[in-house]
């Protein structure tokens, strides 16, 4: 058992703890509004987890997580709107569509790094949003698409999201402690070295892109059937910005950081609403400070604190 595996196991247990808290939350919270808030924060947690796999573990700094959520949402949304196809089929279709498009994007940006990668994925996201937003005839453009609900009770939605999030975290954990975890991180740190050690860079990059975007697509599809309205708003750059905030604040490149970050940021932003919509100001500041001074995020700080406590 090596240290990184141990570290990952600890992070996984912590995220299981968070998920358990989420699962128990409804006992304390019966207000449908706050349940809704938690559901949306779990939606973001899914996006954060997917993006973290790509940016945190594989070093592919994509600027399109929200865009793939939008793609997922519109896939099932349009299937339902035009062809009356049930969510049971629509949601898997969303996963496939997002994953497939993600794989293609992954292959396209294969050679690009840093700012180039950021710019390309950013443009891709904008193109998608503009096309969907302007294809009034097919997508109803900026006005959004009313889609059927998935379940009757809000509690049911809540537990669907808890289950999916748990599955995603579990899958991520299994993936990362397998050899894939090593390969992805190797690619993140040094592609040339990874290749000359025998890691198939193209393959694993594409895998990372596909999985990450598929998760985003799933998140988007679920959100679509929860909110029952799909609109290009989902794919706004600022939404991606929010996801990045969550991951950086929580701790990029860790299992539990993004999850904690997403819940923390979104729930507290709902609370800050009353304080007059200063939430984004606070988070932006927080991100700058963290990126500048505590580069491992809150989880990094916590880990160091724990380390000190242990020592």
């Amino acid at each position: 058992m090596d240290s990184s595996a141990r570290r990952m196991a600890i992070e996984f247990r912590l995220s299981l703890g968070l998920l358990a808290l989420l699962a128990l939350a409804p006992l304390a919270i019966d207000n449908p509004y706050w349940l809704g808030v938690l559901i949306v924060s779990m939606y973001f947690a899914l996006l954060a987890a997917g993006w973290n796999l790509l940016a945190g573990y594989t070093g592919q700094f994509s600027m399109a997580p929200a865009c793939f959520a939008m793609i997922g949402a519109y896939t099932t949304g349009l299937l339902a709107y035009h062809w009356k196809i049930a969510p049971a089929l629509g949601i898997p279709a969303s996963i496939l569509a997002a994953g497939a498009i993600g794989a293609i994007l992954g292959l396209i940006v294969l050679r690009l790094r840093g700012p180039y990668l950021a710019l390309t994925t950013l443009s891709f996201a904008e193109i998608m949003r503009l096309v969907i937003g302007n294809s009034y005839g097919f997508t109803r453009g900026d006005l959004g698409l009313n889609v059927p609900g998935l379940l009757e009770s809000r509690l049911a939605y809540y537990y669907v999201f808890v289950a999916v999030l748990a599955a995603a975290q579990g899958g991520l954990y299994l993936l990362l402690r397998s050899r894939a975890g090593l390969f992805l991180q190797a690619i993140r740190d040094d592609e040339i070295a990874a290749a000359s050690r025998g890691v198939d860079v193209v393959l694993w990059k594409t895998v990372a892109f596909t999985l990450s975007t598929a998760v985003s697509g799933l998140a988007g599809a679920l959100y679509a059937h929860f909110s029952q309205l799909v609109s290009p708003e989902l794919g706004l750059i600022s939404q991606t910005g929010l996801v990045i905030c969550m991951v950086v604040i929580g701790g990029i490149g860790s299992l539990v950081g993004p999850l904690a970050g997403a819940l923390l940021v979104y729930v507290s932003s709902e609370m800050l609403r009353e304080a007059g919509g200063i939430q984004l100001i606070v988070f932006a500041l927080l991100v700058i400070l963290i990126a500048r001074f505590f580069r491992e995020g809150l989880w990094g700080l916590a880990r160091r604190a724990l380390g000190k406590a242990a020592a």
Binding site: G36, L143, G144, N146
Partner: protein
């Protein structure tokens, strides 16, 4: 032995009774308001709606409220974005427990919000969403004391027919309102002026530069350009139409169907581009208004130093409707309120009406809502001084319309 306990029981009973009487009297009736208070929504409209609602709220509460309870307005900013509107309505209903929702002034947002109102069975009074689709869904919870696209379409078609123009091009925003109205005009023209050559172009309401859409018209300008957009897009289009010398010009009329001429920031933004603009409107100071309306107008003028405008009145009516419904239903139970709204005869600030039960775009609609046509003949001209060419009781007189020299 049991005497104290009986006394005790009485005491508790009394206390409980006291509470149970005191409690409801204390807490106000919450009514949810979802309006645009930031872009891309129309902030101007949102503000006007708010002003109108506040006037009525104060009147009602000064008069002792409803069922002995004050009314409280809970505001949410929907930014004119459907997604935000959905979330806002959801919050108002589930978190703030409002008994009704109103304020809606942008069709796309209304269309998203009525879904929520229906899901939770909460009365929804549509203040200013013109899209016919809001009616066509025939949701029992939704009531429309405001204007609707078919009405505008017909009115504008009549004017176009009377003016005898041949080629008409419409610039409309890519929203349910804009596209809906463009189609309504097309429909109406088929009956009123079948030989008019009409086409419309959708513009992105968040767009910054519409010159590419305007330039092609320079070579061969049409006889009339219709604009069916909200500011700021509307202002930008008007300025660029003027800048390129397309309209208003000796050749081409400019006819606005969105009723933007009474916005407080209208002239500051359009200047010369607004002179000679022909305007479809729902209120004109020169049209006759009920006493209640005049009072509201006065209060508004005192509060804001602005001329009153249709949104003030529509908002006022929206809230009055809800209040009257609660009065008649003697409760805030949604079904009772809906029943009341469906049956009652309403005397509002713009006149008397009853909601129609006809299916289609007339469903739960004030069908013969009054409208006006007028022209702005001077820069910085207040609506009250503008040239009224049509109003309830005043037949359309296109002869009075003025055209620029070049």
């Amino acid at each position: 032995m049991n005497t104290p306990s009986r006394q005790w029981r009485l005491a508790v009973a009394a206390a409980a009774a006291g509470l149970s009487i005191a409690a409801p009297a204390a807490d106000p009736i919450k009514i949810g308001i979802s309006i645009a208070q930031s872009p891309p929504g129309s902030v101007v409209q949102g503000t006007q709606v708010k002003d109108g609602l506040e006037i009525i709220k104060d009147r009602v509460n000064k008069a002792g409220g409803v069922l002995g309870r004050n009314i409280e307005l809970v505001y949410e900013d929907n930014q004119g974005v459907p997604e935000k509107g959905r979330a806002a309505t959801e919050k108002l209903i589930t978190r703030d427990k409002v008994v009704a929702v109103t304020g809606g002034h942008q069709s796309s947002v209304c269309l998203a919000e009525i879904e929520v109102a229906k899901r939770y069975n909460v009365p929804y009074v549509n203040t200013n969403c013109w899209s016919d689709d809001v009616r066509k869904k025939e949701y029992p919870q939704v009531f429309n004391p405001g204007n609707y696209n078919s009405r505008v379409g017909l009115a504008m078609a009549e004017t176009i027919a009377a003016m005898g123009v041949k080629r008409v091009i419409a610039f409309v925003e890519n929203t349910d309102y804009g596209i809906g109205q463009a189609k309504a005009v097309a429909e109406a023209l088929k009956q009123k002026a079948p030989n008019v050559e009409y086409k419309y172009e959708t513009l992105d309401r968040a767009g910054k530069d519409f010159t590419p859409a305007v330039l092609p018209l320079r070579a061969n300008p049409p006889d009339m350009i219709l604009t069916m957009l909200l500011p700021p897009a509307a202002y930008i289009v008007m300025n660029q139409l003027y800048e390129q010398g397309v309209a208003p010009s000796a050749k081409t009329w400019l006819y606005d169907g969105a009723g933007i001429a009474d916005y407080p920031d209208f002239w500051q933004n359009v200047k010369e581009a607004g002179k000679y603009m022909l305007e479809f409107g729902l209120y004109h100071p020169q049209m006759k208004t009920p006493k209640l309306g005049l009072e509201v107008a006065k209060t508004y003028q005192q509060r804001t130093k602005n001329e009153p405008n249709r949104l003030i009145f529509q908002a006022a009516d929206s809230l009055l409707l809800i209040v009257d419904a609660i009065k008649q239903a003697k409760s805030t139970d949604p079904n009772a309120m809906i029943k009341a709204l469906e049956t009652m005869k309403f005397e509002g600030v713009r006149g008397e009406f009853r909601f129609s039960k006809e299916p289609g775009y007339k469903f739960h609609q004030w069908v013969d809502i009054p409208y006006v046509n007028y022209q702005l003949t001077e820069i910085n001209q207040p609506v009250s001084k503008s040239l009224l060419v049509q109003a309830p009781g005043i037949p359309l007189a296109v002869g009075k319309l003025q055209k620029p020299a070049k």
